[in-house]
């Protein structure tokens, strides 16, 4: 059972988990921000697969776009590394 698309979505979910662990573990804050933005991008693809295009658009615009930029600006205004 399971089409190629379902395995692809499964891969995307595992990719999200790996990226989330990376974002928590890494010391470089900019890398963590980029990773969390990437999680939002992958999540929007998963939402599209689950036939929720409205949520997918919100996630792509806010999660992957604006939140990432706001965090990048914040990292640039502060020191940029975790102690």
């Amino acid at each position: 059972m399971g089409s190629i698309l379902e395995y692809f979505v499964l891969f995307l979910v595992f990719l999200m988990i790996v990226l989330a662990l990376f974002a928590v573990r890494t010391k470089a804050l900019l890398a963590a921000v980029i990773a969390s933005g990437f999680i939002s991008l992958v999540a929007s693809i998963v939402y599209l697969y689950l036939k929720a295009p409205d949520v997918a658009m919100t996630e792509a615009a806010i999660g992957a776009g604006l939140t990432t930029i706001i965090f990048v600006v914040t990292v640039r205004k502060t020191k940029g590394r975790e102690k």
Binding site: D54, M57, A61, I62, I69, V73, K77, T78
Partner: protein, 231 residues
Amino acid sequence: MRKITAIVFLMIISFYFILILGEITFGEKYEGVSEHYVEKGIQENRGANIVTSIVVNYRGFDTLGEVTVLFLTATGISFLLGSCKCKNPMKRIKGSFVLRAATETLFPVILLFGAYIFIHGHLTPGGGFQGGTVVASGFLLLLLSNRKYKVNHLPLTITESFAGISFVSIGILGLIFSKSFLANDIIPKGNWNELFSAGFIPLIYIAVGLKVGAELSGLLGDMFKTTEERK
């Protein structure tokens, strides 16, 4: 000791999470109020996008709350960033040639696309929040590419107040002329799947889109302020 406490708390949280997840059935059948939304939603609202009719009409009061939360967030951030004396100022650099040229071409297109998303919120996926964010990302491109560009806050404030007031007054019109707050039977609803249909839903989503776009653009403008401008 702290680790054991953390593990115990995580186990409690995951236990209840799994319990709740087990209760939810995915794609099985619609029950209770969702059955009404799916069966009667198009007849009652004449909006092609059921999600929008739920968000703006059935749960319209909830949307008003969300807009208020976003407004408070933008106010808080501009209050904090407008008054702090940060030690590490961010120097804004001039964007590269590719960024500047792309911004000149893309900025009007992005604004148009955002406006399209929130005007067609009742027909196609998307709506006020998504369209407003797309509009704000256009302003973000301007801020990134041009070192001297500053967001002009006065028109943003006027747009935002106007949009918020029109949202609440449409709701109060429903309270006066019909049964309840945000009741969707004052304006004729038109035909299904046309631009002028679904009663007040497009009007409210235009208001929400303008409000969200203005708030987020102002917020980005505050984020990109450098220390010299604050003095």
